[in-house]
Symmetry: D2
Subunit: 343 residues, 4 copies
């Protein structure tokens, strides 16, 4: 069976590492080039517990990534880097799965405010397909450019979209608090993310200004037909990987709790989604898997529903989802190569 | 100078231990009896890095606590135990500072639903003074029975009350997400709180059902004159001590961000409160102190204000606050004996 | 291809869980029965991120394990339980891989002192094969009863045995300090292993009395032909999984550092062993893999060599090693089903 | 009562911060100048939970430290910086307590090999007094220059010295393994000490080459009259603060276990030392105190004694010890200002 050749650009970041791991075991994908300035010249086997041909791959300088010889390129790079690389790779005939935010927002006008740059390739925004199969897999088969969803956006949009579509909650007044493990901040030498500063600490950051906000609103609006402006407060917590999102929504007049719980029935049959009581949703049960656990509790007294979802930010929030989306692009079983079993 | 003799009931729990530490250094308090079945017969010096007379105290069986010979008893016991002990101790002429929820709610009708028992001493609810000086110190001087606030309630009420009083936010639709360290669950042999289950995990619990909800609403309503039903989602996170609360409030029409920030001016001069930008509020800066850090950010786009507060659940959320309240009861400087310097 | 049917007894412990994960993905093994009183009646899919038939297995009461219908039984049970079960299962024709210490020591006379019981089946000690392929795979093909090595014993014996065989270090005066993650203590409701007690703490335990001591000495003596009494100090550290062992050995007169480093050449070609500079050996690089990283540094000034090794106590120290040993018993590739890729 | 004015140079490092905390509460010391380039211009109260005059102090640039106007300067700076500053400060009449290794080794010939520089002020090595009161307080009264011991050196020398002096163990073949929290590496922006790299990991470093080795040997030899070359393997473990050292010593022929336990009787009356069974020595019991817990277990079978000691690396291993030493220099109660009570 033909194996699709793949390149990973930004292969030494936490998402790039995870991606390399998945590609090395995927039955129909084959990593052929890994780009990383940090580890340039080293073998992948020296950095990851890989076997076989993948172990022998040598990291190449990032500057050579535009010339990657592969059928698919995964970009695990900052948005500005992806924005520069993707057009070149597409022009050379590669498919591109971009893990940054460079191609996630359909409206180029949102980039200056949320990402701090003017989008240089707005025509690609029109072409890019958003890689969240559970809320829109129809768009994926055959796509040339996949915008892989953000980690928070994945956890939150999956929790919110069915509830808003149900009509049982108001589209306005959605308040989301989420907590992320430190790999979400990427690999970097920074005092702020040093063990001594993060361990035993909790804090909120980028209140109301996180760049996943417009992505969540766009995704929910597409699926549910409506979405008010969302309030989002992300928090940094001392775990390595994982996101837990708690989303408070105002009940529509007359909404019945039992009906609300059924809103997640739209996920029946999804291989990676599992609906649980909201207080049984836990990061440790999804860690190192492509799974999403989610649940909703109704607080009739306060007039709200609280939806809780958990993912591994490096898997369903990055590398696993990228593989799942490519599986969908190629028309394969979406779960192919994603059976790592947690732990 | 006369030192007030004090007893600690429930001295081997995390709050009881912290209290013992504080009492041992307080210039006007002197621990004379420590009750704990767990460590009965052992000396306090064998369990805590104490010096002096406190080190020589031997833990006594809990069953003897009703006969405590002291001027003040601190009850760091479950609500049911406090409910049984407090009347006996009061009858014998002791002042009582109760760290449980037994005497926090003015309305006895709230106990069956939130605490699971019918209140046996409703007359004491009328007498009890709520020990949160920053939102009502006038009630404390001379009090016989102090109901020490809950840890979440402290962090959340202090963040919410001035905002609601300002009139700049709506009284309805307040959504609170808070995270607590594991000492908040108390000392116990439980698989759920074992290192292997808690480390690297995040989860929500008691969604909409936490017993601090009516306490928060009562406290905010007293101070602000109004408070709608609050939605509260607590989370367990892998740190030993500390609470961070993120509170999302809907802006009143026409509310100005600058005005909102000034709502916390009511705390000017408070020795333990410090107002910061919301994204500078962090657990590690208040750990092992009686301090509260808090801040508010306005998200005009989403029409909300997000208030963030941080405390150490064992200090301002328990033992430190109890000492502060007793200082107020006695007419002393509220900060007396509370100058432990974090770390 | 025929799949061997397997049962896991003690399937809800940390090693049992890990084993279930591995069996579910092994190409030639098939879990057909899982025994656990704790989760009796629940499905494996409710507890683990499994797919396929394994997910539908229901945990059975431990009391039914003696009647297990399978070709191989893995016992992830306390030594006393294994000691009672193994003879019954062997009599019914099953192969047994026992993860406890019940069958590890050839000399029954060692059991009362190190394990606290008199061995009830000394004839099985003679039959049992020690399942550490790297130091004795010849004994494994066709074995009916495999004694799976202890976690510390694996890490330490692999580090020591080649050095002692080389003759470059003395057989006397070996001092081992090792650190283990908390899963090494098993799953239990215990205040001692609660998050609040373990987090941010370090301590030594069972100094000189750990039951892996005679196992290490027996294993090293078999491979190296000599082994003095080893001093072993285990430590509990706040990580979930992983062991790091630091072994100090006295250099033989005239031993050359370069020669010492070559002692590990005996491991050339081992799929799971990797020799590194001693200060590059780290738990995180072997976590969730069946790998062993090890290295040796010579301190000529102090006249010692220090060997450092790292394993995942639940994989190479338990479940992975059990699968590897069974692979060897069956004559299969030892790495079969063990390609989980860490993280 | 006259308060001695003190300056802290390197006040934003972890040891410098801890020192500031202690000085701010010391009844006879008064911080008057804090030097830190990182926080230059900020107030101490913005960084630490201080009250009073200390809170208003503004951090000054490190370059101005040589002109410090104070009676005592604490140098919490790298050895090279201390080496340059101390002579200038001494010349201006200040006493100096140096927390680096710049003045710890009596033999200047040891500096190139262990510290990587040739000592520029060997005459000060002769003058410097080693600030470990429990093993040599007689040298301290009136000292102008105190070399504050290293953190590992403190934990290890205190454990070893009485045993070697007892004659019950051999002076040769001492093997030490110790584990340190991450604050021991100092405050820095480094990928190696990032949360993601350190959390859930264990590793050894600087095997046999740690610069505390000659310091330990010098200290033990002074106290015990003999000390062979020590083998020392330090480890990095995921805790914020604390050191646990496990020291394996070979029993002298005929040594009796009971006699060995009595070796620590030399510490009777020491305010900060507590002798316990070796498996009861734990970092959490000494964290945030100036205490040392230590114990020794005899393993007669292996012919060794294992001594275990625990300290807080920032307190007894740095700031607390510096205050204790200055107390001794001034002829005050050594425990003055050191009654912080852990937690």
């Amino acid at each position: 069976m033909h194996e699709l050749s793949t390149a990973v650009v930004g292969a030494s970041g936490y998402a790039g590492l995870e991606l390399t791991r998945y590609l090395a075991r995927h039955p129909r994908l084959r990593p052929v080039a890994l780009y990383s300035d940090r580890w340039s010249g080293e073998t992948a086997g020296a950095r990851l517990p890989l076997g076989g041909a993948a172990a022998a791959l040598r990291y190449l300088p990032l500057g050579e990534a535009a010339q990657a010889e592969a059928e698919v390129a995964f970009l695990a790079t900052p948005a500005e880097v992806s924005l520069a690389l993707a057009p070149q790779l597409l022009a050379r005939g590669l498919r591109v799965v971009d893990l940054s935010g460079a191609f996630r927002l359909a409206d180029p006008g949102l980039y200056p405010g949320w990402y701090g740059f003017t989008h240089a390739a707005p025509e690609l925004l029109a072409e890019a397909r958003y890689g969240l199969p559970e809320l829109g897999r129809a768009a994926l088969p055959g796509a040339r450019l996949v915008a892989n969803p953000g980690c928070y956006a994945t956890a939150i949009a999956l929790a919110l979209a069915p509830l808003l579509r149900s009509g049982l909650v108001l589209a306005e007044g959605v308040a989301v608090a989420a907590m992320s493990g430190v790999t979400g901040a990427g690999r970097k030498a920074s005092e702020d993310y040093s063990f001594c500063e993060v361990d035993e600490d909790l804090r909120a950051y980028r209140l109301g200004r996180h760049q996943h906000v417009p992505e969540i609103e766009q995704t929910v609006a597409r699926f549910a037909g409506r979405c008010g402006p969302i309030s989002f407060t992300p928090h940094l917590v001392p775990i390595r990987r994982g996101i837990l999102a708690s989303c408070t929504l105002r009940l529509a007049p007359g909404a019945e709790p039992a009906a609300l719980a059924r809103a997640y029935d739209v996920y029946a049959g999804e291989p990676f989604l599992r609906v649980l009581p909201a207080d049984k949703v836990a990061v440790k049960d999804v860690a190192r898997t492509n799974r999403v656990h989610l649940g909703v509790a109704v607080d009739a007294r306060a007039g709200v529903a609280v939806a809780v979802s958990a993912i591994d930010n490096l898997v369903k929030g990055a590398a696993g989802q990228a593989v799942q989306a490519l599986n969908a692009v190629m028309g394969w079983d979406e779960a192919l190569g994603l059976d790592l079993l947690g732990g």
